[in-house]
């Protein structure tokens, strides 16, 4: 496949999940500068799933190290719901840890890509393009269908 050199991200909605206000702002500004149509933010798992009940994003960037529910738990919860359109939303894990076992674990649980902090704008763009090119969601249930109930605060 030819390399992607141009894009119009305005039709996309991207959800950023991070408990750091600084990272949320940084990611929002960078993705907004890329021309992403809608950047949603969530500071916790509960807030993220609450947002997703209203509609699935096209791509998720999620921090791993959050408390009490971390990014891996969010990823597992998403991927467990085979009947939901959310189960196949491209998911990029964002983390400060670059150990091989961490990368393997996240990818094994269904992450589509993995970014280690600190990262540049170019790296962010490369990962965004990577998961867009890999996306197989066009054969999943229609976007207009109601997402099923996925999350209950325990």
């Amino acid at each position: 496949m030819a390399a992607i050199t141009k894009a119009d991200f305005s039709p996309l909605t991207i959800l950023v999940i991070d408990d750091s206000p600084y990272m949320l702002r940084l990611m929002t500004e960078m993705l907004g500068s890329f021309g992403v149509g809608k950047v949603q933010v969530a500071a916790s798992a509960e807030e993220a799933f609450s947002r997703m009940q209203a509609g699935a994003p096209d791509v998720i960037f999620c921090d791993w190290q959050m408390h009490p529910t971390d990014g891996l738990a969010i990823l597992r919860r998403l991927r467990q719901h085979h009947q939901s359109q959310l189960s196949c939303v491209p998911f990029v894990m964002v983390t400060g840890h670059n150990a091989n076992e961490d990368v393997t674990l996240a990818l094994g649980e269904g992450a589509d890509s993995y970014i280690v902090k600190p990262f540049s704008c170019e790296t962010l763009m490369n990962h965004l393009i990577k998961v867009i090119v890999q996306d197989k969601g066009h054969l999943t249930p229609n976007q207009d269908e109601e997402p099923e109930q996925m999350w209950a605060v325990e």
Partner: protein, 163 residues
């Protein structure tokens, strides 16, 4: 895998970003870099707020249950990642040392004291106290020494037993 016959086809993400208004990625990356630079200028405000939260949490650490230490660990990791993104290498180094202490060592009163030393170091680095009387090279050298001393303090705390 066979496609679900009841599924409706929607455009792929690649199709959706390939419209007539597509612009070169290099131009978008340049815009993103400029935006990131603007956000980095506000890092000091975030840092002060986060250090304040760590100071409060630290006071409750000694004798605290594991989840309190876990939350403190998550806050430290968060600060390290944000500091790294903002190019604050010395803050990053102090946070790494603190992270190692919280992750790999016994969580007792002695460890809580070393946690306090790390918070003091973060406060010192964030206040820019060195820069008032010292040159940049001297300031960076002092920050490096401080990070090394903290690592040595962490090394004196017993490690968790492997179980």
């Amino acid at each position: 895998m066979a496609a679900n016959p009841s599924a409706k086809r929607r455009p792929s993400l690649l199709e959706r970003i390939s419209g007539p208004k597509a612009v070169p990625l290099t131009a978008l990356v340049q815009k993103g870099e400029a935006a990131a630079q603007r956000v980095q200028e506000s890092f000091g405000d975030f840092l002060q707020a986060r250090i304040g939260e760590l100071m409060e949490a630290r006071l409750r650490l000694s004798g605290a249950p594991p989840h309190a230490w876990d939350k403190f660990y998550a806050m430290t990791v968060d600060l390290r990642g944000s500091a790294a993104m903002a190019g604050q290498t010395h803050l990053d180094a102090v946070c790494r040392s603190l992270e190692a202490l919280l992750k790999d060592h016994v969580r007792d009163g002695r460890a809580a004291g070393v946690v306090g030393s790390h918070i003091d170091a973060l406060l010192l680095l964030s206040s820019g106290r060195h820069s008032q009387s010292q040159g940049e090279n001297e300031r960076l050298s002092a920050a490096s020494r401080l990070a090394r001393e903290l690592e040595q303090a962490v090394a004196r705390i017993p490690r968790k037993s492997a179980s």
